[in-house]
Symmetry: C2
Subunit: 711 residues, 2 copies
């Protein structure tokens, strides 16, 4: 990179590309890295590609002549005011006045991307981009175009903010880490890195000729099980002088067991920890040290699984699963609040048209994708992404609408995986209420986003479809006698089966009226003979529903039991599944394999979300925290304090039974408190909402210290 | 490549891939090679990509254990009977009995492709392939799958018939050629290669340090016009010892003009001629040497433009244009009869879903793509390709159907280029009759292919749509007073304008009844005040229409005038456009550029087709020449002889005014002769069809010598 490329002014230029393309390209790389005991194991759904030929354009109005520098990933040409410039210029001088600048790029193996840098001209998402410019030259030499039919998008970017930071060369950050202990075991050495981690094994001072066998384990049992550990490397070595050797592909592990031929020697085994550098913006502390520990381990679990994308677990799939990612998004809003990670994951999960299958082939996962967009908008307020993505939302929803049966309901058709949850004997037959519920919520998302994308006709059509589906949900599945939504309808008849899924979602979706909520709490949620949930995945929603009903004390005990239970077993990250009735290495089995279970699974980290949203009680009530609610609930704790990130900074909160300290951010904050007495403090004006409930308006940037009486 | 990979038995294995993927990938490469005076000039329409993750499978039933060898382009795994084999095995032993073999491949930069080789197991197009296998493992470890919803296709291939012949490394063949003369001109040397050609300039014994400027020309004027020639290379050289240097990218030229800095020397300039090796199966000879020369130059023109694909012209675009390619297909059936070239071009032109524009952005070009498939089936009888392609035919037709106006007609919408022809002042307003005509024919193609793809419902729907469109064509555009189809309807009213386009196509599409044909011949085709056609592109159809009306003598003179006119100007290949009223270098200008015109354009080669189909008079009447007609017409010649290739070999023919010799091939041949006397000969049974017309059945492989009396 020529130094002259970077003049001495502050740049806001960033590498830009067609929306979704970089995400899809990177997603293909990441998701095709999975191996199972050394064998390549790719996804089983369609993987799309970036557009190989893309045109970027920008309308300019320059007060004076300006020199721009152009850096491109791909082969390219440059047009100024419709005229092709010679060659592929890296420096272009643009005269003052109004101009149109076009850069057209071809790249098959990577994503067409540009970085443009001048005093005022800088590549960013104000640039337009298309995959078909439709500009042509007629037989008279006139530059004609049919581009009136072309759809231009705002370009997309991430954080490649320097010309020499090529998007195609992106790698996660690494950091050297040492093993905390090692011991001879069987025919080799077992290394313990002290906690679940992810990275590249590194042999220091490796020498000799022979094979190095590396067995990775999330448990010592797994690492030592050379016949059944899930990941391994067998490396041929031939070094006549000692060298440091780093294994090419990163793995998840806490333990590494190494066997080697005697002709090989090395000084030590260390690792390069590989991670996405993100700030822990959110925080939580309270008087209960076990809860604090749960929060810490949940945060670490989420960080390990927040990588190029939000993946499911770090050992095994390392894929994006829409249902798993949906939970990561929600936890992310209470920890990193990193929107680009959400956008990357949503774009990559969706892929491109045509839609030939549900996302991940799973019907429910298609709906979680829509729900993720709903939440994204609520938590970030970013309309650009919604508009970039709206076309793909429409075509996916068209796919779903085209699969309705004669009653307008969805049931599993050939090619559909109706997942819901890993639960023994769970029926997927007929029309499952849970799927219709997610469908209704997805249609609401479509109506919302149609408005943002200025599709008034769509907004009204989706609104009417969603209302219709909500009506049907109750007409078809509500059972007055059982006081619950039943699990399914088979051949036109309600089944007798009641499960938790549709019932708990209807609570926090606010689909039930108050009397239905009360009824369902006792007839389903707190009832023992309704099939129990054993995955942290569905525990997420179950506990959310209970919190939404004000059962924070009950949920706190559940958390301590369930997540505390994993901690007692030595967990340093939370698991894919936890069944307290099992013991020892039984805990590690799943999918019919001894060590099939992932011991670091994103969906295990839900206390992050629950503690932020339902204990600290902070949540946006208008897009991007333009309005928000702070409704703390100690749930039996003596005190708690924490931070909740918003696009405009952190909301900071301390809560005891007699005092609340809170500092708001931009936007209209409302603190809602239950109190025996009128809350008071400097600048505090509590409005009595009746029934010992008070509301206090929070102005941006002001700290409020409020005295009240919780009990 | 390990020798052991190729056991000593005859292999019918070939590299296979997902249908269309290789064609799209190669098409992207080829079409992004265009430069204009050194500047990259890519297409202006959407370019698609191959599927990056593809699964190949084959059901086996082995009489004995068999060892197979596997070679893959991409990263892969192998499953036998649903069980993943360890690593990426290159050799697999399969026990006797029934088995299912799956190979799954990921490749981003190239096309996922496999070559499998065993005694009986060989990769070919009987293998199934999909881009979403939807096979997954449930929580109990059971291999479940939702692949009931998966569409499996037969794999596609070309001619990569050896393990070491990697599809990704495909290159056209090259052959060294020398310049026929050279002379000092201006500040450099002008080389003449004797005829229009295509290839890589090669400097022999190049030495020194400095810049070599290479200007290519299809004419000496172009090569010498360093400011306006269409293609050039400016090469920095730094060789301290003499080396042979071949320019990296091939160009079209007859002349090369070289200027160099004095510090540079070289011994000579030669070239590597670059071409697709194809047999000239068809032939034509007659008593008129000018016609013979026209045929030869047409054949060479078609060969130069038949490359990785059928491209338009070799100097400039080097793109696939559907309307141009359509004519190449037809000529190809009378020269090379190379089906893979047709398939590659059709697949690449079409690209992938979703359809966002007409093919090449041109409405008529979408229709030529359908017509090309119609002809492909007629000339080759190949149903596999039709089935591989049918889904893409459907979605393209859906795109078209979605663009009809309230009267069910097509007119240019934003983004549509209504081309028809390069013709001064040609109106594209309103609903043009020519487009509706091509639309009707395309719907007929859909009906035909729907039947082949076992889509009975589609077949019936498309049939009814096509009949409706044909009816509308006459209701709306036929003008009883003018005895012709008018050019267009604007705002609901017939225009006064009559053009040749719809009228001439209706003749050889057989849309007119006999009295309409006669009327149109005099009211349009042979009438001087109807706008004349100046492109060889539309001359193709004009002359075809006249031939279909029996005007071979008239057309022969037109050929001699028009194509003979180019020969008289020294053409060694036929041009993009020819206007006899111009003179000198005026002939080379087009698109507002001095040398913009292509002097080797596929659409200039139509005599190949006309002479084969309407003079030798050979054409299939059932798919793949299962039945065919030989209806010779000397059109004023004394004698002619030639060969017409069919899937089963050549039909050979000699015709004078008193004798016909013909040798048929597989299929039911009919010789149809006009004769004053009853045609006779050994084995000849002429059936009198009245009006001096006789028909003689031709049995496969038999030579018939027939005496008759033409005049």
């Amino acid at each position: 990179m020529n130094k002259s490329f970077l003049p001495d002014v502050i740049s806001t230029s960033t590498w830009i590309w067609y929306p979704g393309d970089y995400d899809i390209w990177l997603g293909n790389q990441v998701q095709n890295r999975r191996t199972e005991r050394g064998t390549f194991l790719p996804p089983f759904w369609k993987m799309d590609s970036h557009y190989v030929l893309v045109e970027f354009s920008k309308k300019l109005d320059l007060p004076e002549e300006e020199t721009i520098h152009i850096k491109v990933e791909g082969r390219y040409n440059v047009k100024l005011d419709g005229k092709l410039l010679s060659g592929s210029p890296e420096i272009v001088v643009i005269p003052e006045g109004k101009h149109l600048l076009n850069i057209k790029v071809h790249n098959q193996s990577g994503v067409p991307a540009i970085f443009v840098y001048g005093k005022t001209i800088q590549s960013d998402n104000s640039w337009k981009v298309t995959f078909e410019d439709k500009e042509w030259i007629d037989e008279s030499g006139k530059a004609s175009d049919t581009s009136s039919g072309t759809v231009y998008m705002n370009a997309a970017s991430w954080n490649f903010n320097a010309a020499e930071t090529l998007p195609s060369e992106f790698k996660l950050t690494t950091q050297p880490m040492s093993a905390v202990s090692s011991e001879k075991k069987n025919n080799g050495m077992l290394y313990d890195f002290g906690k679940e981690t992810f990275g590249f094994a590194k042999f220091n001072g490796l020498k000799g000729k022979g094979t190095l066998d590396i067995y990775y384990g999330e448990s010592p049992e797994e690492a030592l099980s050379i016949g059944h550990c899930e990941t391994l490397d067998r490396l041929p070595v031939d070094y006549s002088t000692a060298k440091d050797y780093t294994v090419a592909w990163s793995k998840a592990f806490r333990y590494i067991y190494v066997e080697k031929e005697n002709t090989l020697t090395y000084d030590s085994l260390s690792m390069l920890y590989e991670y996405l550098p993100l700030d822990y913006k959110g925080s939580f502390r309270c008087n209960d040290e076990q809860i604090n520990k749960i929060w810490d381990v949940a945060a670490y679990t989420l960080h390990l699984t927040t990588r190029e994308f939000f993946i499911d677990g770090i050992k095994r799939d390392r894929w994006m699963w829409s249902g798993d990612a949906y939970q990561s998004f929600l936890m992310n809003y209470y920890l990193f609040n990193d929107s680009p990670s959400v956008e990357r994951t949503l774009f990559s999960l969706r892929g491109k048209d045509p839609v030939t299958s549900h996302i991940n082939t799973i019907m429910d996962y298609t709906f979680y994708w829509f729900l993720g967009i709903y939440d994204y908008y609520l938590f970030t307020g970013n309309e650009t992404f919604i508009r970039q993505n709206y076309g793909r939302m429409q075509s996916l929803m068209n796919y779903v609408l085209g699969r309705r049966n004669k009653d307008g309901l969805l049931q599993g058709l050939p090619g559909d995986w109706v997942f819901i949850d890993w639960a023994t004997g769970l029926s997927k037959k007929g029309e499952v209420s849970f799927e219709q519920l997610l469908f209704a919520r997805s249609l609401e998302t479509m109506a919302l986003c149609a408005s943002i994308a200025n599709d008034a006709e769509g907004a009204s059509a989706y609104k009417s479809l969603s209302e219709d589906m909500r009506k049907k949900l109750f007409e078809i599945y509500w059972n007055e006698q059982k006081q619950a939504l039943v699990h399914s309808r088979v051949e036109g008849k309600q089944t007798e089966n009641v499960t938790r899924y549709a019932n708990m979602f209807s609570i926090f979706f606010d689909y039930f009226n108050e009397s239905q909520k009360d009824a369902v709490k006792s007839s389903v949620l707190l009832k023992d003979n309704i099939q129990k949930i054993t995955t942290p995945y569905m525990r997420f929603y179950e506990l959310e529903a209970l919190c939404a009903l004000g059962e924070q004390s009950y949920v706190l005990n559940e958390m301590k039991d369930y997540w505390g239970g994993m901690l007692k077993l030595g967990a340093t990250s939370f698991w894919e599944e936890y069944n307290p009735t099992k013991s020892g290495a039984e805990h590690y089995a799943m999918y019919g394999r001894e060590f099939g279970k992932s011991l670091c699974h994103a969906w295990g980290a839900s206390p992050l979300y629950l503690l932020g949203k339902y204990y600290l009680g902070v949540k946006p009530t208008a897009p991007g925290y333009a309005a928000y609610l702070v409704e703390p609930n100690l749930g039996g704790l003596q005190w708690m304090q924490g931070k909740v990130p918003t696009p405009d900074g952190n909301i900071e909160l301390y809560v005891s039974k007699s005092e609340v300290k809170v500092r708001g951010v931009a936007g209209e904050g409302t603190l809602r408190l239950k109190s025996r007495t009128l809350p008071s403090g400097s600048n505090v004006r509590a409005i009595d909402k009746g029934n010992e409930l008070y509301e206090i308006t929070l102005k941006p940037g002001t700290e409020y210290i409020i005295n009240y009486k919780a009990e």
